[in-house]
Amino acid sequence: MLDRADDSAGSPPTEETELRPVAFRGAGFAPKTGRYASWIALVLALGGWQLAGSTGLVNSLFLPTPVATVNAIYQLALSGALWQHLSWSIMRIGSGWVLGTLAGVIVGFAIGLSSLARSVGITFISALFPIPKIALLPLLILWLGIGEEPKIATIALGVFFSTAISVYSGVDAVPRNLIRMAQSFNVPFHSIVRRVIWPGALPSILAGFRITASIALLLVVSAEMIGAQFGIGAFVLQAGNLMQTDQLLAGVVILSLFGLAVGRLINWLETRLLHWR
């Protein structure tokens, strides 16, 4: 039989003493995104901008209004110029990104898994990664000619280094205990890579994709500004030269929307592939 405590032990004191609530100290440090706040802020900013332009407070040559910018996009779409420029940019980004990513994933895995590749690869990547890749464009034009190849190669180079780094960092971050577990069951090397290291490194690889998508966008605009007739970068430069600022902003908005779409795609991939987190 267990000895039971007196039932009154947990009751509040019977004496007439003043009760004070315990002060709550746990608030804050947990920011949340408001459902409507972001939209309201966006509408207010655009409204203010439109008002400043419409009332002549800001010269529309220096800062075209949102309505003028949307109108410029509409006209570009109607004339077919939008698709022409956009398709060239997408082709360059797509080709450069795919090439750079493929090479980066292969090299990143090699560095993550092989001592020889690690010894050689990290030295080269550390030395070459900080170089602004757009500075290599003239050299690449010299090597590859003045066609699409140097622009695609510039994007591929920019994407390659960041991808390789994110892949080998991801491989390094795979918990060693999972690899040892697989080894303890005599799981073959290729199966450990496929079933343990690849999924374990995927969060870092996808985070790398987000960065390389931005790099690709940055480099395509720069490369198109230097040497292209078509492409959003070329269009923005041309509009700037002709002081067609509404067209210029239209190009910037299109780039921004493109970046947002890529971000959404990566979010979707993360939701699909990293649902276990």
Binding site: P175, N177, L178, R180, M181, A182, Q183, S184, F185, N186, V187, P188, S191, R195, V196, P199, G200, W276, R277
Partner: protein, 257 residues
Amino acid sequence: MDLIADHITHRFGALDVLHDVSFTVGAGEVVAIVGPSGCGKSTLLSILGGLLQPSSGSAQLRGAPPPESLNPLTFVFQDFALLPWCTVEENVEFPLLHTALTLTARQSVVADALRRTSLTDFRCTYPKQLSGGMRQRVGIARALAVRPAILLMDEPLSALDSQTRELLMEDFIGLLADGSMGAVYVTHNLEEAVRLADRIVVLSRRPGRVREVVTIPMTRGERSGLQAREKLLTLQNDLWSLIREEAVDAEREVQHA
């Protein structure tokens, strides 16, 4: 199949971890390894399981493993080592994927392992959705799926709360009851050692040497009675007095490191 630690010595750089450790784990025998913190218990288990090469000496096997065994030496890890992107069922199936078993045979083995560990209802759950105790059950189910001859358990209960530890200890006793499977059980918990083991290898502080091998003078089936529990408690106290001084020294060493 016997597992033999044959004059195992190991160093990590200039640090001597194990020195000339020898003992044998017979077929179906449960051997616990105890000793002060940092005496090389987990290192010894890694060497016995082939995950670490000793500086000198070796781990040997004597006799053939049971024919149905797919992985004679199988680990149960302290941190469970579950693949977070796989469901319970996929985790248990993982070590079978590269074997010659057909899909139907694999499914049958997995279902049996899940049934033995009461995890059938959780087969589609991900590890993050499970409690610590349930995760360790998945680790045990995965180990059972390959029908091991000897389980190598590295403090399998130390990351769990006391109630879950007690429940899993009962599971271990049940799993090892028929003597078809042996085990090397590394623990710092002397109560677990005396309840589960047939013999206890007591290691000295670093570098770990075999200080004493204690045989528990009763079968696991005889250990549930009150009188037996008293005897085990006495044994546990004897073990504690054997390692207490060194455990205190080891603790001081850790604090000054």
